[in-house]
């Protein structure tokens, strides 16, 4: 169940991280942000690779991960969490738009406003697609 795609993706993160760090160190991309991002990607890639190797070598761990992935309550919780995250994001951004407007921060107000619109559009499109599927 823990497919090979994830393994290849973790290798990709490591390679991308190394490339970003190398470009940053060679001062081709002149920003500490890129070396930080590279370091983060390497860490994520290494952790995922270790997880993948453990999954392949340890049958007990494999069984635990397979159950965690397929467990219907876990799926329900994941979906519910995304739903809550969406509601919270819209509410926080909505409040942010009003606060930015009161403080006269036009750029922030515009960015947050567009973000709320994007989230609402994503919700509306998802609803339309899912209502045709189910």
């Amino acid at each position: 169940m823990y497919d090979k795609k994830r393994f290849y993706l973790s290798i990709f993160w490591i390679v991308l991280g190394i490339v970003l760090m190398a470009l940053s160190m060679a001062e081709i991309m002149d920003s500490s942000m890129y070396s930080g991002l590279g370091g983060g990607l390497i860490a994520v890639g290494v952790l995922q690779t270790i997880r993948h190797l453990k999954y392949n070598r340890n049958p007990k761990y494999r069984e635990k991960i397979d159950t965690e992935i397929s467990d219907e309550r876990n799926r329900f919780l994941r979906m519910k969490s995304w739903s809550w995250a969406g509601y919270i994001a819209i509410l926080v951004e909505g409040v942010g738009v009003i606060v930015a407007m009161l403080l006269g921060q036009e750029t922030i107000q515009m960015v947050l406003g567009y973000s709320v619109c994007l989230l609402l559009c994503a919700y509306w499109i998802s609803y339309m697609v899912l209502s045709r599927k189910y």
């Binding site: 159950t67 397929s70 467990d71 219907e72 876990n74 329900f76």
Partner: protein
């Protein structure tokens, strides 16, 4: 929705971990079912009832709000 999973499980001497493995779910799911905090899908409800060799309505008690 109330259920009799814990009662039936205990009467047959099946532990949560064991039952979770048999149903292909996590132990936390069985614990939530026991406490009535989580309502299972129709598939899991069917699987549970079938395992106990009972009808779904004998395991799960539907109460109209």
């Amino acid at each position: 929705m109330k259920n009799r999973i814990e009662e039936i499980r205990n009467s047959r001497g099946i532990r949560q971990e064991e039952f979770a493995k048999l149903m292909g779910v996590s132990r936390q799911t069985i614990s939530s079912l026991d406490n009535g905090r989580y309502n299972p899908s129709i598939l899991l409800a069917y699987k549970i009832a079938k395992y106990f060799d009972l009808m779904i309505e004998e395991v799960f008690i539907f109460e109209e709000a």
